[in-house]
């Protein structure tokens, strides 16, 4: 029993003299340790949970910022493709008109993709309606 008393003395602040109430203090210190360890365990688990979870406020801001340019980019690309198709095939202005339509649809598609995180078949319909 004296060894154990020494052991605890090394571990924590050993301001406690070997008094008759030592076992009580010892118990108290053990409980304190247990409490702190439990807190750490909890915090670690929470951290892991948080890391596993996706999404944050930053993501939301980014989503909002990119919507407009996503839409515009679709139209720009559509226009560019149409322009070159017209130039190559001499179909002015039908290529431009058609690809602008496609670009418009693609822009909406971009937005829909941005709004919903996963691309599922459910989002195909509204985009189709918008395209034709």
């Amino acid at each position: 029993m004296p060894q154990e008393r020494d052991g605890t003395g090394d571990e924590a602040v050993s301001s406690v003299p070997a008094a008759p109430e030592d076992p009580v203090l010892w118990d108290k210190r053990r409980e304190e340790l247990q409490r702190r360890l439990a807190i750490h365990r909890e915090r670690n688990a929470a951290e892991e949970q948080r890391e596993r979870k996706t999404g944050g406020t930053g993501q939301g801001i980014a989503e909002g910022l990119k919507l407009a340019s996503e839409f515009a980019a679709g139209i720009i690309v559509g226009a560019a493709i149409g322009y070159f198709v017209d130039k190559l095939a001499g179909t002015t202005p039908f290529g431009l008109i058609f690809f602008l339509m496609i670009g418009f649809a693609a822009g909406i598609r971009n937005i829909l993709r941005s709004v919903s995180p996963t691309t599922t078949s459910g989002q195909i319909r509204p985009k189709d309606d918008a395209g034709s």
Partner: protein, 202 residues
């Protein structure tokens, strides 16, 4: 690069698609005209004179940057973070282990304490038992001793008494003889005296 196969399909399908609203086309035209307008103005970001230079230097700097990050800097940072994570995990583990050690020691201590207490208890009981047994034995021995001594004494008393009694007869007879002889001047035979004494004693 993926457009080319699509072009062929598009040609076949362009008739099936509804014609676009005029507003769209106009908006698109505005878009393209706007872009072209910027081209003409010699606006620096659209000045293609320095495109090759920018691309080349971007490739060089970004390539070097990527190489540095991948081979020097990120292993370094990653190492530090890994190191810290390991260290914290180890420390926590050590704390847990110490805690369980302490718990074990505490339990052992408690157990030892109860054991010792039990042992002390049993030793005490035993000692008390044996002491009581010893005392009992001693008492019995003494009792027996005393009894035998008492018996002896009584036997001796009886002996003494009987011998004393026998002597009393002789004394009485002697005394009677003497009295008769000295006082009454009567010579009596020993038999008469014995008879008289026996009668007197009744």
């Amino acid at each position: 690069m993926f457009v080319t196969p699509a072009f062929a399909q598009e040609e076949g399908h362009s008739e099936t698609v509804d014609l676009p609203p005029a507003s769209d086309a106009a908006a698109a035209h505005g878009e393209t005209i706007h872009v072209e307008g910027e081209h003409e103005s010699g606006f620096p970001p659209f000045n293609s004179e320095y495109y090759p230079s920018q691309l080349l230097w971007l490739a060089i700097t970004f390539g070097v940057f990527y190489w540095l990050l991948k081979n020097v800097l990120m292993p370094r940072i990653g190492g530090i973070l890994e190191n810290r994570r390991d260290r914290i995990a180890l420390d926590l583990e050590a704390a847990e282990r110490m805690k369980s050690d302490a718990d074990e020691a505490h339990a052992a201590y408690e157990q030892e304490l109860t054991e010792a207490r039990n042992r002390a208890h049993s030793i005490g009981n035993e000692a008390r038992e044996s002491a009581r047994a010893d005392a009992e034995k001693e008492r019995k021995r003494l009792d027996a001793d005393l009894d035998s001594k008492l018996d002896d004494a009584q036997a001796r008393i009886a002996e003494v008494k009987s011998s004393a009694m026998g002597e009393v007869d002789q004394i009485a007879r002697d005394v009677t003889d003497a009295i008769l002889r000295e006082v009454a001047q009567i010579e009596a035979s020993q038999d008469e005296i014995s008879g008289a004494v026996g009668r007197a004693r009744g």
